[in-house]
């Protein structure tokens, strides 16, 4: 009764407090306050990045004042300071891509095997192993960086700070992401396909290769993508295991540049990284769509891919 009485009151007589309460509370009303906060947040999360990319096209040497458009100056035209001609920037780009590639090559197969093992192995040690796998996900990167740095300095002294050491570090923190993604897919597939294959006379090897592997491919693809993204994004581990200027990655270059006087070429370098990630994301999406074209659930490929990735 009070409900109806409240609703029938004219708008003007409702106090402002009441209105604020309604905005927060009513799940079916028109929440103008929430709309405002959400869109302000979304804009503020994206606009600074767009502005930073914009400055990579600045024709002048400033990263704070717009001096006109130049498509290529900071990417390749400037003979000294562009990404292509500044050896430190070019080297950082190569190093980042090299590390991401190595990480994908090592972490993905290792993680797929680990996911299969952890999901199906029923031994006394399997639950400690499961527990161990989760730890890298919650350990702050600084702690991981310090410990890897100390272990190669004092215990595994045959590994020196180097690209190889950086690769080992990257694999260590990206492994668990692969496991989480692949395991999610493994649970959603279930075991019935493999059981059917066995009933029809497939050997274990055949059912692994001809049934399980193709079914896992979308998750493997998502893992490759995630590993690429988190490896190219990583700053802390790369820095702690760095061998000096030779091992600098893109994030390390950005880090040292922001503390000196940055040129738009650093923005260009950072923007290149964004382009790479977007291209990789688009490519993965297309391949994923193609591979799951026969098992499209309601919501389409986007939803199921997000489901696979969002498992983490």
């Amino acid at each position: 009764m009070t409900e109806i009485a409240l609703k029938s009151q004219p708008m003007a007589s409702r106090s402002n407090l009441q209105r604020v309460r309604d905005w927060i509370g009513n799940p079916w009303g028109r929440p103008r306050f929430l709309v405002l906060v959400t869109w302000l947040y979304v804009l503020s999360s994206i606009v600074p990045v767009i502005i930073a990319i914009q400055f990579s096209f600045n024709s002048g040497r400033s990263v704070t004042a717009w001096q006109g458009f130049s498509l290529s100056r900071w990417y390749w035209s400037d003979p000294v300071d562009s990404v292509w001609h500044d050896p430190t920037l070019q080297q950082a780009l190569v190093q980042s891509l090299k590390l991401a590639g190595l990480d994908m090559l090592v972490a993905t197969p290792l993680g797929v095997l680990l996911a299969l093992g952890l999901a199906r192995w029923r031994g006394r040690l399997s639950s400690p192993a499961n527990f161990l796998m989760l730890f890298p996900l919650v350990t702050p990167e600084l702690v991981m960086g310090v410990s890897l740095y100390l272990v190669i300095l004092y215990l595994f002294t045959f590994i020196h700070p180097s690209t190889f050491a950086q690769m080992l570090g990257h694999v260590t923190f990206s492994l668990s992401y692969v496991v989480v993604i692949v395991r999610g897919r493994l649970f959603s597939i279930g075991r019935q396909y493999e059981e059917a294959a066995a009933d029809l006379g497939a050997t274990p090897w055949e059912s692994l290769r001809l049934v399980l592997l193709p079914l896992l491919l979308p998750a493997i693809l998502s893992s490759l993508m995630i590993v690429f993204a988190i490896s190219i994004d990583d700053f802390v581990i790369s820095q702690w295991l760095s061998c000096g200027a030779q091992c600098d990655t893109i994030p390390i270059r950005i880090y040292s540049a922001t503390r000196a006087a940055p040129l738009p070429s650093v923005n260009a370098l950072a923007a290149i990284m964004v382009y790479f990630t977007i291209a990789a994301l688009g490519l993965t999406y297309l391949v994923y769509r193609f591979m799951t074209r026969h098992e499209r659930p309601a919501g389409g490929a986007t939803a199921s891919m997000m489901g696979d990735i969002g498992g983490m």
Binding site: V42, A52, V138, M144, A257
Partner: protein, 296 residues
């Protein structure tokens, strides 16, 4: 159908990898923290055998956290920054997650994609964008001058705690919103309808149904961003670079890369991990308690 040993064999390489490159390194931190120091060269002499552990220098470092001692100020500042940044993240993040989970139909996929977008832009790239905006002649100060809100715009990038906190919020809020959204999405909407049918006002339905049901989600999302925030050193370095705003992570960084004193750095790392371990344990305890209560 598969041989029994197969899955153990599959898990083996990954488990060995994690033991060698995750657990052993952590043991190395312990060894260095509890080891001795070369009296002449000041190099750490790690002690690998637990019987050789020497706790004197570690306890000295630990005592530094007592009120008024060496690390008290920095510990207080770190906690303060993380607490304020976390509260701001929740204040902004909760309404955003709530709106997207409750009120959007057609725009939901678009908003989700926009929420995920920052994940695909490197953290350092986002900090670079932030630094560009807040530079002395940047857009933010330009706007402040143009709007005559202030006559002399503040120096954002030189030991300004406000920028460090805003930097932390900007950097970590995407990692808070997604888990929060997932937990809000899981709430059964018929419970809300029931509350309304039983006469709850919209506001009290929110307070008594939605908010309590999203408590573990809030806690989980907070832990997810608080852990890395406590270990952050690059954000204060990038947006401030001044000792006035340095956090615990900066102190650890300095002990390794500044005037090298690795054993003190290792001791601090250990203390930080123990502190975060307690936070984590508290979180897991709360979650399991909530699960037991919902089953009972």
């Amino acid at each position: 159908m598969y041989p029994k040993w197969l899955w153990a064999v599959f898990a083996l390489p990954g488990v060995v990898w994690l033991i060698l490159l995750f657990l052993t390194p952590f043991y190395a931190v312990i060894g260095v923290a509890f080891g001795g120091v070369d009296p002449i060269f000041q190099n750490p002499l790690p002690a690998w055998n637990p019987l050789d552990w020497d706790f004197t220098s570690f306890l000295d470092t630990l005592r530094g956290f007592l009120p008024g001692r060496t690390y008290w100020g920095i510990f207080l500042r770190t906690t303060e920054y993380v607490a304020i940044a976390l509260s701001l993240c929740l204040l902004i993040g909760y309404p955003v997650a709530y709106y997207i989970s409750r009120h959007t139909r057609r725009t939901k996929s678009l908003l989700l994609a926009l929420l995920i977008l920052p994940f695909w832009v490197s953290y350092l790239m986002r900090m670079l964008a932030w630094v560009n905006l807040f530079a002395p002649e940047g857009y933010v100060n330009g706007f402040l001058r143009w709007s005559h809100l202030v006559t002399t715009p503040p120096d954002w990038l030189n030991g300004n705690p406000v920028s460090v906190i805003l930097g932390l919020v900007y950097g970590y809020i995407p990692y808070l919103i997604l888990p929060l959204l997932a937990s809000l999405d899981r709430i059964d909407k018929s419970l809300l309808e029931a509350a309304r049918d039983l006469g709850a006002s919209p506001f009290s339905a929110f307070l008594q149904v939605t908010l309590p049901l999203s408590k573990t989600g809030i806690l989980g999302a907070s832990v997810i961003i608080a852990l890395p925030m406590f270990g952050d050193y690059y954000t204060p370095n990038i947006v401030s670079g001044s000792p006035k705003t340095s956090m615990l992570g900066n102190q650890i960084d300095i002990y390794f890369h500044g005037g090298p004193q690795p054993s003190v750095g290792a001791a601090l790392t250990l203390i930080l991990s123990a502190f975060l371990g307690v936070l984590m344990a508290y979180y897991m305890y709360t979650v399991s308690k909530a699960q037991r209560e919902s089953q009972a």
